[in-house]
C-alpha cells in the first residue's frame, strides 16, 4: 500500500466529514434521552421502543418492504430480459433505440418520472396505492438491473449457450439451465440494488402513493414538516443501517461471486 501525502489525507478527511458528519449526528441524537432533539441529556434507547409502538410508522414500514420486495422482483425479471435482448439479440432493427430507452430513466429527473407515472395512472383510472408504487418502482429500477446484468452477459462465453443448444436444449432451456445459473450472481446483485433503491425513494413514491398506502420515506418527510422528533432520528438510524447493510452486502457479494465465476469460466476455457 502506498502512503498518502498530507494533502491526500486532508482532502480525504474533509470529504468523508462532509459526507458522514450529518449522519453521525443523527445517529448520536437517536440515542438522546431528551424529547428536545437538539439538547443532549443522556444516553437512552427509549425512542426505539416508542418507535415500535407507533402504528402509523410500522404500517408505513410494512408497505415499504412489500413495495421494495415486489418491485425489485418484477424489475429483476424485466431488467434481465431486457439485458438479454440487448446483449444477445444481435443487430435487430431498432436495437440502439431500444437500449437507449432502457437507460434513459437512469438520467431522467425523478420528478418527471413520478409526474408522468401519476398522469398515466390517473388516465387509466388506476387507484393509487401499493400497486401503483410497485409499478412505478419497477419502472425505474429495472434500468439499474439491466445495466448490472448486461455487463455480466457481455463477458459471457457465447459458446456455452451454443453447446447447450447443440446438446438438445431449446433456447429457453439453454437460458434456464446454463445462462441463468451462470449469471445468477449478477441477477441477485441487481435484485438487491433494486430493493435498496425502492426503500430509499421519496420523490416517485410521493407522486404515486395514495391515501391508502404510504411508504416510510413519505411518512418521515411529512412528520418532519411538523417538527423533528427523536423517533424520526431512531427510524432514520435504522434505515441507514438497513441500506448500508444492503449496499455493502450487494457489492461484496456480487464482486466476489462474479469474480469467482469469471475465473472458473476462464479456467474452464483454457
Amino acid at each position: 500500500m502506498r502512503r498518502l501525502s498530507w494533502f491526500n489525507v486532508t482532502s480525504l478527511t474533509l470529504g468523508f466529514a462532509f459526507l458522514y458528519i450529518p449522519m453521525i449526528i443523527l445517529v448520536i441524537y437517536s440515542f438522546n434521552e431528551s424529547k428536545l432533539v437538539t439538547v443532549w441529556s443522556g444516553f437512552s434507547a427509549k425512542w426505539y421502543g416508542e418507535l415500535f409502538q407507533n402504528e402509523a410508522f410500522m404500517r408505513a414500514a410494512w408497505v415499504t418492504i412489500k413495495v421494495a420486495f415486489f418491485s425489485s422482483t418484477f424489475a429483476t425479471v424485466l431488467g434481465t430480459m431486457a439485458a438479454y435482448v440487448i446483449v444477445r439479440g444481435g443487430r435487430f432493427y431498432g436495437r440502439t433505440l431500444f437500449s437507449g430507452f432502457i437507460y434513459a430513466p437512469l438520467v431522467m429527473p425523478e420528478v418527471i418520472t413520478g409526474l408522468s407515472l401519476l398522469l398515466l395512472f390517473i388516465s387509466i383510472g388506476l387507484d393509487r396505492g401499493v400497486l401503483t408504487i410497485v409499478l412505478a418502482h419497477t419502472t425505474f429500477s429495472m434500468c439499474y438491473v439491466s445495466v448490472v446484468v448486461s455487463s455480466r452477459l457481455a463477458s459471457f462465453d457465447r459458446a456455452l449457450e451454443e453447446a447447450a443448444l447443440d446438446l438438445g436444449c431449446t433456447p429457453f432451456d439453454a437460458f434456464r439451465l446454463v445462462t441463468l445459473p451462470i449469471i445468477a450472481p449478477a441477477v441477485i446483485a441487481g435484485w438487491l440494488l433494486a430493493f435498496t433503491l425502492s426503500l430509499d425513494d421519496l420523490v416517485i413514491a410521493s407522486f404515486t402513493a395514495g391515501p391508502s398506502a404510504t411508504t416510510l420515506p413519505i411518512k418521515i418527510f411529512s412528520s418532519v414538516r411538523l417538527g423533528v422528533s427523536p423517533e424520526i432520528n431512531a427510524l432514520s438510524t435504522l434505515m441507514i443501517a438497513i441500506v448500508t447493510f444492503g449496499v455493502l452486502s450487494t457489492s461484496i457479494y456480487s464482486k466476489r461471486a462474479i469474480a469467482r465465476q469469471q475465473k472458473e469460466e476462464q479456467e474452464a476455457e483454457q
Binding site: 456455452l160 451454443e162 438438445g168
Partner: protein, 372 residues
C-alpha cells in the same frame, strides 16, 4: 467387410455420402465465407478441414451444427435437408474450441447434460455416463467441477460430452488447440482410437497440418471459402493439384519454367531443361510450375552416376531439425533449392557444411507438374 481392405468409401461410386454440400454459399453482409461449395463426406470418415484462419472452415462447421444457415444451396445429412432443423434437433454434436464446459456443473453432469435433454431413463443415463467416463479415463474425476481439472482433462470431458448422445456426426473445432505439443500428439491418437471404436463420423477443423495429416482419412484444403483439394493425406502431400496446396502442406520447391517438350521444362538460363514425370505431359510453349519436395532431392559431394535431373550449387544455409537437416542450396543463377536429408549419422560426422559445393539430383517422377 474384409478388414485388410483400406477404408475408402469415396472411391466407391455406389456408396451414399452421409453429408452432402450442394452448391452451398454463406454470406455475412458483403463477405462471402463459403463460396458455392460442393462436398461429400461418408459415414465413419475422419474428415479434416484445413486452411488458414478466415478461410471459412469454421463457418462450414457451424453450418453443419446449425448455428448458421446457408445463404443458398443445400446441406443434407443422411439424405434429409438440414436447413429447417434447429441445432437442438440435429443428430450432430460439436466439440467446441473453448470446450464450453458448463462451469456450474460437475464433470459427470456435463456429460449427462445432453442425455437428460433427450429423456433417457435414470439407469440408462447413469450407465452411459459411466461408459463415457471410462472411454476418456476420467472416472475418478466425475464429481469435480471443470475448473478443478487440467486442460487435457477438460478436453476429454468436452469430447465425452459431445459423444454421449452417440451422434451420427461429431464436429471438432480446433479440439487440441489449447494443449501443448506432447499432449496434443498423444490426444490425436486417442481421438483416432475413439473414432474407430465408436464408429462415429468425425469432421475436424484445424489449422495444424500435421494434426490433419495424422488423424484424417481425408483432408480438405480450404482457401477463401472454396475447397482447393480433397484427398487422402498422402494424396494431398504427394500429388497436390495446385501450387497453393503444395505450398500450404509441408515444404516445397516451386520451379517456374516453360515446356520445351512434353517432358522437358526449361527453367533457367545456362541450366539443362528438367525432366518431368512421364504421366503428366505438358503442352509445348506453355508455362508451368514444378513442385518438388525437399526430401526427394539428394545432396551429394560428387555427381551421381545416373540422375534424371542434376544441378550444382553451394550450401547457403543449414537448418538442423534433429532427425533431419534442410540444406538451402544456391545455384549459379541465384535460385535457391531446398533439399532435405535424414541425419542418420551423428552431427560431428555430417557430410556438408556452409559454402560446400554440392550436387542436387532427383528422379523425373519426384516432381509434380502444376499449372501456372
Amino acid at each position: 467387410m474384409n478388414t485388410q481392405e483400406p477404408f475408402a468409401p469415396w472411391e466407391n461410386p455406389a456408396e451414399i455420402p452421409l453429408i452432402q454440400f450442394k452448391n452451398v454459399t454463406k454470406k455475412f453482409g458483403d463477405f462471402t465465407a463459403i463460396d458455392g461449395l460442393n462436398l461429400d463426406i461418408y459415414a465413419r470418415e475422419f474428415f479434416a478441414l484445413l486452411g488458414p484462419s478466415g478461410c471459412g472452415k469454421t463457418t462450414l462447421m457451424r453450418l453443419l451444427a446449425g448455428f448458421e444457415t446457408p445463404t443458398s444451396g443445400q446441406i443434407t445429412l443422411g439424405g434429409t435437408d438440414l436447413a429447417p432443423i434447429p441445432p437442438n434437433k440435429r443428430a450432430v454434436n460439436m466439440m467446441f474450441q473453448s470446450y464450453a464446459l458448463f462451469p456450474h456443473l460437475s464433470v459427470a453432469d456435463n456429460i449427462a447434460f445432453g442425455l437428460k435433454r433427450s429423456g433417457v431413463g435414470r439407469d440408462a443415463l447413469q450407465a452411459r455416463v459411466d461408459e463415457m467416463l471410462k472411454l476418456v479415463q476420467l472416472g475418478k474425476f466425475a464429481n469435480r467441477k471443470p475448473h478443478q481439472i487440467s486442460g487435457g482433462q477438460r478436453q476429454r470431458v468436452a469430447l465425452a460430452r459431445s459423444l454421449a448422445k452417440a451422434p451420427k456426426l461429431l464436429l471438432l473445432d480446433e479440439p487440441l488447440g489449447a494443449l501443448d505439443k506432447k499432449l496434443r500428439q498423444e490426444t490425436q491418437f486417442e481421438l483416432m482410437d475413439i473414432q474407430e471404436s465408436t464408429g462415429t463420423t468425425f469432421v475436424i477443423v484445424t489449422h495444424d497440418q500435421e494434426e490433419a495429416m495424422t488423424v484424417a482419412s481425408r483432408v480438405a484444403i480450404m482457401n477463401h471459402g472454396k475447397l482447393e483439394q480433397i484427398d487422402t493425406p498422402d494424396g494431398i502431400y504427394e500429388t497436390p493439384n495446385s501450387a497453393y496446396v503444395a505450398d500450404f502442406i509441408g515444404e516445397v520447391n516451386l520451379i517456374q519454367g516453360r515446356a520445351t517438350a512434353p517432358h522437358h521444362l526449361d527453367w533457367a538460363e545456362g541450366e539443362i531443361p528438367l525432366n518431368t514425370p512421364e504421366q503428366s505431359p505438358m503442352d509445348q510453349g506453355r508455362e508451368y510450375q514444378l513442385a518438388i519436395r525437399p526430401e526427394k532431392i539428394n545432396v551429394t559431394a560428387q555427381p551421381p552416376e545416373k540422375a534424371d535431373n542434376l544441378v550444382q550449387g553451394q550450401v547457403l544455409d543449414i537448418a538442423y531439425l534433429g532427425n533431419l537437416s534442410t540444406y538451402h542450396v544456391k545455384l549459379k543463377g541465384g535460385q535457391i533449392i531446398k533439399a532435405q536429408s535424414a541425419n542418420s549419422r551423428r552431427l560431428s560426422r555430417r557430410r556438408f557444411t556452409w559454402e560446400d559445393q554440392v550436387y542436387l539430383s532427383w528422379a523425373a517422377s519426384a516432381g509434380v507438374v502444376l499449372d501456372k
